[in-house]
Subunit: 200 residues, 2 copies
Amino acid sequence: MSVASQSVGRRERNKRAKLDRIVAAASELFAEHGVDEVTTQQIADKADIGTGTLFLYAKTKGELLLLVQNAKYAEALEQGRADAETVPGVLDAVLAIVRPIVECNRTQIDNGRTYLREMVFGDPEEPRHSAALAIVAQTEEAIAAALRRDERVTEGDAATLAHIVSAVMFLSMATSVNIALSVEEVVQDIRRQVDVLLPR
Amino acid sequence: MSVASQSVGRRERNKRAKLDRIVAAASELFAEHGVDEVTTQQIADKADIGTGTLFLYAKTKGELLLLVQNAKYAEALEQGRADAETVPGVLDAVLAIVRPIVECNRTQIDNGRTYLREMVFGDPEEPRHSAALAIVAQTEEAIAAALRRDERVTEGDAATLAHIVSAVMFLSMATSVNIALSVEEVVQDIRRQVDVLLPR
DNA sequence: CATCATAACTGATTGCAGTCAGAATCTTTT
DNA sequence: AAAAGATTCTGACTGCAATCAGTTATGATG
């Protein structure tokens, strides 16, 4: 292999290019039509690959959604982490982390809810699923950090409380009861609950 | 119509009989093989009805599971409500309500998790879905009642706290991370969280 | 009882996610 | 540079949930 041309073989480069096309195709189609209205066939066609090839890159359609959304959620988390720094109160800091995630999740409500569904009920063996759970873990870590500002919250309780906040977030975003709620209303719903949770 | 024979027409009786056969068939097959391993065709065959007929009684396979499981969950709740009466401490009373539900849910873990999935992500228009949510509401009411024994818990907070406990329960039972956990371990996981939740 | 109207039933069919046996492409070896 | 070996690709195919146009059973009416 020529050192001048490329350090990785054609195979690797082809795979990479295909994955990029798949992500781009799925991303666009999901965003425009919603995950339920898009067929895997359409994605394969748009990415210019065979039907079967798609499933070499994502074992299920759900995995494909995780693949597309994980990056966006990670970004929302980063935003929230930054926002939380600039906010004084504990409750407000927690909500500063929560808000961008809710916003991201509700950009397209069907996709957002399906993403949450895959997260909890998807195949834990799959790498994109683990990646999603890793983001959740990071989110809880960020929330725990915010909670520790309150000196009444002990070291150990912070992690548990953060996990509870995470559960509350999940259900407020996921439940069909809240389908009609706006981003702000979902955030308020979460705020109301976190408020009761915090030491008084 | 002869008053002596029956107060409801043959139609109603036939429908009732069919629904009974469907529930019996689905119940047995789900319990034995798990919801994912059973086809709607098998259920229709066992209930001795046409393929299409099944979907007149339950719009989706998920609805069929709700139909079968709702009754069992209502029973578990009743059990827990009774148990909670006989237990002194607040935390223990809450867990007395939680335990039978977890037991019921884990009788067949795949079915239990799928049931939870349908509950949160299923079609809210469907009657069996509403029925499931009604049981959840009753569960939260029972938990709220237990929480109110603690005089530090205000009237309004009780309902919110109960809702949070419900969210914690849901995720502990549903998440793939906890798949390998026994009933007792799931209950302990919930206990640990509720403990942090209660006023200290 | 015969006729009509309506509700309930049915299985052949559809649409889609996901599979798999063989073809194509890339890499290594001689 | 040819052959052998390994990996990746592909679209025809499978299996299943769900549908729907046509059929049958029930109840109402004269």
